[in-house]
Structure formats: structure tokens, C-alpha cells
């Protein structure tokens, strides 16, 4: 990887801290997947540069950073409109150290389809100086569960070769915390308010990853930035398969979830520990497979935490902890348990 050095914060040993990703034409080497962090720090730079204006403690840049450590070579990033896109490209600045394109809110997958088709055409006519160029999409829950669903479904059906990473912060955060189909039941948002009439959002979260499984694409997974090794492995798999791949990541938003900025990854871990957000992957060959912490919980059910452990850190669920709302917490616990039991039945590596 040939890199251009930016005149920023030179660290010792003459090693620059921030670099653009520039690959010489003809570059054939695949970057290996590295889990030794010191080696990673010495050989890789994230695809996102500092100076982006996402809130302090936002998980979205961590999702991008970790995913980019698993990129294998030349990569084009597509983003849907949302916090990540808006805050990383405030004109005239860009935080992307890789080629990047944004088109609109609803069509990230269609844009990625076009990019992939263009790459194919260039390759066919001998004008692509690389073996392969990967296409990776980052899109929010609004841009995926809601307005971008038809574009995503169409691209999956047409079989374009790209990895779609959903960073799910469970609401339309960029426009001021409006509820989406990704918002969980009984969460407060500005359009699912909490008061004497309503206890927050009244509807269930759409099972987006299962919807993608139903498309029978080559790879679907769930992941979180807190379980970083698991996430990086999944990103690499998603890039390596031929055809569409989809990774649903839980991406905390401290502004919208109303928690301390320092607790971003703590909250995320608890989402997995309570089985609110189980970690799994799915392929047409092996079906559902539990991974990482969720596999450990399946093997040792004592590790499973009550849902309150997840709710208690977040202001958007504060009303649920009041004594008069005990029955709502019980209902959420039953929903989580039912989904977890179903996953245990489906997962081929769950103990029986």
C-alpha cells in the first residue's frame, strides 16, 4: 500500500498518524486481516480521518474505523444521507481517506450497484488497473429499514457484489431523533414521546437482518463495534463473498439514547449480554451460526443478563424503570426471550 503522508501530528519514528489510501496501479497484494493491535497500528490507517464532526462518543465512526481495518485493498465507500455522511463531509472538508460517494438518503444500495457495474465495465474493457476494487456501503437505520429498503432489496435481488454495513442507531438521529422502523418498542424519541398517554414507541423493531436472510444473499451477519474481532472477521467475509453481503451493526448514539458519552461501548456490550442484540452470521450453506459472546451465552445460559441491565443506562428507556411500568419491562423481556429461543432453535452451532 503506497500512502501519501499528511502534514498532521507527526508521531515519532517519522511515522505519520494519518494517511490517505492510495494504491499504485497494478497493486495486487491483499492486505491481511490483522488482530494484533500493535501490528495493526503500525501497518494500517483507518478510512476515516479525524476532524469529522460526529458528536463526541458517537459509535458510527468506530464502526467505520473497525470495518476499514478489515478492508482488503482498494475500496470505494458509499454512504446514505445521515449523521455519518453529513458530519464527515461538511463542505469543503472530507474525512474520507478512501474514494467516497454520496447520492441521496434512499438510494445508497442503488448507488453502490452503479459503482459496482461501472467497475465491472472498466474491468471488462481493460481499464481497471486493479485485480478487484471492493464496494462498501455505510447507511443508517432510516436509510435502510425505511426509505432505503426498496433500493437495498432491489440491489440484493440483482446480486451486485458489495458489502452493505448498516449502522443502526435506532432512530433518525441527524434530523433530531425521530422514530424509525429500527427504533425498539417503548423507546422515547421526539416522534414517539413519553407521557401520560404513550410509553414511547408502540411498535416492534423490524427484523431487518432476517429480511436480508430471506433474500438468500451469500452473507448476512449482526455485529457491534464493542465485539471488534468478531466484527472485523465478518467484514472481511462480507467483502470476500461474491455478491451482496449485509452486516447489521448496533451503533449507539449518545445524544438519542441519552447516555453518558463514555458509555457507548458499555451500552453496546450490554445489548449483547442481555440478548437484546445477539451476534450471529448466516450463509446459505450453514444457515444461522451464533458467534462471539452470543455463542458463549448459548453454551452457558447463566451469562445471560436481564433486559434491565441494558435499559438502565439509557435515558430513552428511563420511564420503563418506574414501578408503574414494570409490566412493560416484563413484556420487553418476553420479546427478547422469545427471539433468543427462536435463534437458538435456528442456529446450527447452538448446544442442544
Amino acid at each position: 500500500m503506497v500512502v501519501k503522508t499528511l502534514p498532521e501530528f507527526p508521531v515519532k519514528k517519522g511515522e505519520p498518524a494519518y494517511k490517505l489510501w492510495i494504491f499504485e496501479p497494478g497493486e495486487k497484494k491483499e492486505m491481511p486481516l490483522v488482530f494484533n493491535l500493535r501490528q495493526l497500528a503500525e501497518t494500517r490507517r483507518p478510512a476515516l480521518l479525524p476532524g469529522h464532526r460526529l458528536c463526541a462518543g458517537c459509535a458510527a465512526p468506530i464502526v467505520v474505523k473497525l470495518a476499514s481495518f478489515a478492508f482488503r485493498g482498494p475500496t470505494i465507500v458509499v454512504t446514505a444521507t445521515g449523521c455519518l455522511e453529513v458530519s464527515s463531509t461538511i463542505f469543503p472538508y472530507t474525512s474520507w481517506a478512501v474514494p467516497w460517494i454520496h447520492n441521496a438518503f434512499e438510494n445508497a444500495a442503488a448507488t453502490a450497484s452503479g459503482v459496482e457495474a461501472a467497475l465491472k465495465a472498466l474491468k471488462k474493457t481493460g481499464r481497471l488497473p486493479y485485480d478487484h476494487v471492493d464496494v462498501v456501503v455505510f447507511a443508517g437505520d432510516g436509510g435502510t429499514f425505511d426509505i432505503g429498503l426498496q433500493s437495498l432489496s432491489g440491489a440484493a435481488e440483482r446480486g451486485h457484489d458489495f458489502l452493505y454495513i448498516l449502522y443502526d442507531n435506532e432512530a433518525y438521529m441527524n434530523t433530531g431523533i425521530q422514530r424509525s422502523a429500527g427504533t425498539p418498542k417503548y423507546a422515547w424519541t421526539t416522534t414517539s414521546p413519553v407521557g401520560s398517554v404513550l410509553p414511547g414507541k408502540m411498535e416492534n423493531k423490524k427484523p431487518i437482518a432476517e429480511i436480508m436472510v430471506a433474500h438468500r444473499i451469500p452473507y448476512v451477519a449482526t455485529a457491534t463495534p464493542a465485539h471488534w474481532m468478531d466484527f472485523m472477521k465478518k467484514v472481511r467475509k462480507g467483502i470476500e463473498v461474491e455478491g451482496p453481503a449485509f452486516i447489521h451493526t448496533l451503533s449507539s448514539c449518545d445524544r438519542g439514547w441519552r447516555h453518558d458519552t463514555a458509555l457507548t461501548l458499555e451500552v453496546t456490550r450490554r445489548a449483547v449480554d442481555t440478548c437484546y442484540f445477539p451476534l450471529w452470521e448466516w450463509t446459505p450453506q450453514s444457515g444461522y451460526m451464533l458467534t462471539d459472546r452470543s455463542l458463549a451465552i448459548a453454551r452457558n445460559p447463566k451469562l445471560k443478563q436481564p433486559i434491565e441491565k441494558y435499559l438502565e443506562l439509557q435515558g430513552r428507556f428511563r420511564h420503563l424503570l418506574k414501578p408503574e411500568n414494570k409490566h412493560l419491562v416484563k413484556e420487553l423481556q418476553e420479546l427478547v426471550d422469545a427471539a433468543w429461543e427462536e435463534l437458538l432453535r435456528k442456529a446450527s452451532n447452538a448446544p442442544r
Binding site: K12, P50, R53, T89, A262
Partner: protein, 90 residues
């Protein structure tokens, strides 16, 4: 009738061209992470998780780049040996 414009004459999209490294987000900070190098085991987790790429490995140590650190406290919270403390900005 006016001639129809071809795709070549359509306006191009906006191009963001200046690197955001020119934009210092360090002044957002209210709390400042300070690393105690006597405790630090160089596990690199703070480097891995910092959302602002504000922790840099200099070949010997992890160093905070205060030009960009927004003071979120994730590094302090994730540090397994509690080597990072968040102190109020003067």
C-alpha cells in the same frame, strides 16, 4: 425548440476536497484524557476504540492528539487498567 442537454453538460455533484484534518475538533472538549504511563500496559484498546482517531501509536506509546480529541471518555472507560483519567479543561 431548445436543444436537449446531454449528460456531459449536466452539473457535476459537489466535491468535498479539503481534508478534515484541517479542522480541529479539540476545542469541543470539556474533559481531557490524561494517560498515566506508569499504569499503561500498551494494550492499544484506547487506540482501537477512539471515535476521533485522536489516540496515536508513536512506536513506543499511545499518545493523545488533543487537536482532535473531543473528550468523550470512551478511552478512559475501556482502558482495562484504568490508566486514563478524565480531568476538567483548565
Amino acid at each position: 425548440m431548445a436543444q436537449q442537454a446531454g449528460w456531459r453538460s449536466l452539473p457535476k455533484g459537489g466535491v468535498a476536497f479539503r481534508l478534515s484534518t484541517d479542522y480541529k475538533t479539540g476545542d469541543w472538549r470539556a474533559l481531557k484524557p490524561v494517560i498515566d504511563y506508569n499504569k499503561c500496559t500498551k494494550c492499544m484498546l484506547c487506540w482501537l476504540f477512539c471515535p476521533d482517531m485522536a489516540i496515536v501509536w508513536d512506536g513506543e506509546n499511545v499518545v493523545v492528539n488533543y487537536d482532535y480529541c473531543k473528550g468523550c471518555g470512551i478511552c478512559a472507560n475501556e482502558c482495562p487498567v484504568k490508566a486514563i483519567s478524565m480531568v476538567p479543561e483548565a
